[in-house]
Symmetry: C2
Subunit: 308 residues, 2 copies
């Protein structure tokens, strides 16, 4: 699959706990400016990456939300495949502390010394600094409310610089240094000393977009502060609201919970996922969410959703 | 898939090392008299079991040939799914010693206490006694020649008892005890003391059938004694014979090696599997094998092969 957008997610699996014939375990790919990020890696993820023609060799950063098997049992297979295919560039894994030990033990048992460097980054709740960033994006982790330590992830595009109007460039032919200064908000000083205010020669940049992944979690207001004003929220909806008590007991959410989270967070769009196999059809989940938050969709495997 | 035969195998995956779009990692199901056995369990095996409608709840015995990831990384996921679906009956796993530790560690990390008993049986080379048997079949393990300790498996139907001719039963109306004695080879004593020889009132039973799984292994004559006169031999053919040196170096076989093994073992049929992704098409493998051993086929996923 050739990604067509600057910022998108592609769902590889949205099934809770056990796979079904047409529904795979949790995993998705975030693409921003041709950088590929993998969130969660349930069993069969490498097969889904092949099936949907994702350029998985571009993935340099993998984020694992928690250590329930349906979210990471596919990781060791993907790491092995990278090794067998001769990967040389380092791979970063952001996950719960025990993940490093588990992966290293498996590699030891199968007597594999990876040809590339595996860099583990343990998630914690000590602060809210980015766990990853480059010139385009920052990635944050934040605590969810589940039976085991679990983290959500937020991908936040960086504020872009001002756009300079073409007409100004054609007329005044500014130097590279002057262009950089103007993009940073400075006024332009003409050769005769006249000053042109910045706001006359620039237009505002595109508003930064953001994406948050919340799975698995109980509905809990403490999460809100991390996802306020997010552009697109992927939120688990393991059950429908007829199973509210079970959802609470199992530290999961209903579709209604997810919609309330999106509404209160002032999200632009909600994508529901992590469906229990009990849900024979998902329209009831969509219906109960849309009553609360209209711009809701049901995630579908293999579909690339643009973050906008 | 409803198995139609008393004795069959269904291939779930026959790809070496890494999966491809249409080819999954090593795993297959042996069915004998409605008992289900799983051999190897590469990543995605539980998905393949679902895809091909195998009644995987009937599997009570899983055989793992060796600890290379492509042969067992799907095991932990399958065990978890059994747990989540409420399995209660014990599950037996026959595999290399380190497998127990690895599975137990993974279960500990994901905080899962299985609802059913997991019984590990360590493979060794100390003797050639059955590692499993019931009234219909015996299963043996034997050492293969690979980079790590690896075992092949032989499923051998037990010798059936003699069949009593219908005409005799109608005429002499023997008691149950007499029937059992006749089936065990005894003569029949009439009420008047006359003796009817056993061979006049019985027909020989069907010859016991056998199936051997040899993957992964280098061609090595030491294996022959374990598979002599096997009915159906599944043998790895990772490469074609143009890559004989590489096969030897990597402790794998070519299709020609596999055919020589089948020929020398006096097998009835050879099924080739464990194909490297380098083999763009498999007809050349089949061709080179058939020159040596005519009754060769290329294994195909989802196909049930009768052992006959």
């Amino acid at each position: 699959m050739e990604t067509t957008s600057n910022f998108s997610i592609t769902i590889l699996g949205n099934s809770a706990a056990i796979p079904t014939k047409n529904s795979h375990l949790s995993s998705q790919v975030v693409v921003n400016h041709n950088n590929y990020y993998l969130i969660d890696c349930g069993e069969g993820t490498q097969l889904q990456l092949i099936r949907y023609k994702i350029k998985y060799h571009k993935i340099d950063n993998i984020f694992i939300s928690h250590l329930h098997g349906d979210h990471f049992f596919g990781l060791i297979g993907l790491l092995s495949t990278y090794h067998l295919l001769g990967r040389e560039k380092p791979l970063n894994i952001y996950g719960p502390p025990a993940l490093k030990l588990l992966i290293e033990m498996q590699l030891k048992v199968v007597q594999t010394k990876l040809k590339y460097e595996l860099l583990f980054h343990e998630l914690d709740n000590d602060n809210y600094n980015p766990i990853f960033e480059n010139k385009d994006i920052s990635v944050y982790s934040f605590p969810l409310v589940h039976r085991v330590p679990t983290w959500g992830f937020k991908f936040e595009q960086k504020q872009k610089k001002l756009n300079i109007k073409k007409s100004f460039v054609e007329l005044f032919n500014p130097s590279i240094e002057e262009i950089l200064n103007i993009k940073n908000g400075e006024n332009f000083v003409c050769k005769d000393g006249a000053i042109i205010p910045n706001n006359e020669i620039t237009t505002p940049p595109q508003q930064p977009l953001s994406y948050a992944y919340c799975s698995d979690t109980r509905y809990d207001i403490s999460i809100m502060k991390y996802i306020i004003d997010v552009s697109v929220l992927y939120h688990e909806a393991t059950f429908d609201s007829s199973m509210q008590d079970k959802a609470h007991e199992k530290f999961h959410s209903t579709a209604r919970d997810a919609a309330n989270m999106a509404k209160n967070a002032n999200a632009t769009k909600l994508i529901l996922g992590h469906f229990s196999a009990r849900n024979k059809e998902l329209t009831s989940l969509l219906a109960e969410a849309c009553v609360i938050f209209e711009n809701t969709i049901i995630s579908e495997e293999g579909i690339e959703y643009l973050i906008s």
